[in-house]
């Protein structure tokens, strides 16, 4: 009894393939042996065959036109280069934003001591137009700021314009330390925003690149 039920379960899932004559001979004989004893499976085979027969009544429709290719349809492999170009562009964008992110984080971690050196490359990357004007100013500020404990941020435009190598100015700068600190606070939050923006941009570029790469692979 239990054996018969087991045979029923084992045969039942092969009935469609059996009806199609697509079972290997060993399995086919086993299914036939079960069919001889199981009315339910015999009825199932009848139904599945009737379904297949009914489906085969669907008419074959004539194509509405010829799909033969003309020379114009063939001479247009222009669809392939754009994805490749886009892929390369997104790859470059991912690398660029990642480098920018690393530079911004490095600047942040390295802190005020190296801020002058870091300012030049980071500044030139985020705002290339401003770079030539800022570089000499930064150098001057570095000279002026050497004895000052408060860090100067030439690129923030706070200490930079005022920095000239006179003792009076040096004193004034020390007095302005709280203001500079407030400026640094603003600078830090700006830096954070820039870091997050670079990270998000790198992530988006990498994501878009992955989607495009998968699509073009699947399409080929």
């Amino acid at each position: 009894m239990a054996l018969a039920w087991l045979q029923h379960l084992l045969s039942h899932r092969h009935l469609s393939a059996y009806a199609d004559g697509e079972l290997a001979s060993g399995l086919r004989r086993r299914v036939e042996g079960h069919l001889a004893r199981c009315a339910r499976c015999r009825a199932e085979v009848e139904e599945l065959q009737a379904t297949a027969r009914t489906l085969s009544l669907l008419p074959q429709e004539a194509p509405p036109r010829s799909f033969a290719l003309g020379p114009d349809q063939v001479a247009a492999p222009a669809r392939r280069p754009p994805p490749a170009l886009a892929l390369r562009g997104l790859q470059a964008a991912t690398v660029a934003f990642s480098v920018l992110l690393v530079a911004l984080v490095a600047w942040d971690v390295a802190g005020p001591a190296t801020s002058e050196q870091a300012a030049a490359p980071a500044g030139s990357q985020s705002a290339p137009a401003a770079a030539p004007r800022e570089a000499p100013e930064g150098a001057g500020a570095a000279l002026a700021a050497t004895p000052t404990p408060a860090p100067t941020r030439p690129d923030m435009g706070l200490a930079g314009p005022q920095a000239t190598p006179t003792p009076a100015d040096r004193r004034r700068q020390t007095e302005e330390a709280p203001a500079a600190e407030a400026g640094e606070e603003t600078g830090r939050s700006l830096l954070r925003i820039a870091q997050v923006a670079a990270g998000v941009a790198a992530g988006l570029a990498a994501g878009a690149w992955a989607v495009l790469a998968i699509r073009s692979r699947r399409g080929s």
Partner: protein
Amino acid sequence: MDDDALISRARAGDLDAFNLLVERYQGLVFNVCLRMLSDRAAAEDAAQEAFISAYRVLGRFRGGSFRAWLLRIAANLCYDEMRRWRRRPLPLEAAADLAAPAAQSPESALMRGELAGHLQRGLASLPADQRLALVLRDVQGLAYEEIAQAMACSLGTVKSRIARGRARLRDYLKAQGLLPSGAALALEEE
């Protein structure tokens, strides 16, 4: 001339040779797309696009059944189209529209047309993989082995897709009163 001879000529840039292949398989490709998409215009576009991309990537054909390879390209285009529909719901009347192309005897045309509409709606209710397997098997009469090539899957997967799709379609047709129960069918035969 057989497929392989035409393929090698087409690879050498002979467009006429390729168009002989198009002529040979356009009915098959169009009808598979039609049953997959339930929409004539979409099927027309998919079939045309299938032949264009087949010509472009003909160099990648590695032998075996050319029509299975062609059907795989067409099926992928149909899947793409259905994915676009998921974002913008498909026209539900489409299946009903497919009911009947005007035929000779009006009465039998009506019968056939109604049945065709039911069958198309039944197919449309299946998951796409089961629908494709069933269309290739029962509407186009392909063997399991060739279906496996066209669907890029194993023979076992073809078997289970056909079994599940056919059982579901059987239930659908029964619910529509278009299929007598198996017991009645068995009696008819005796």
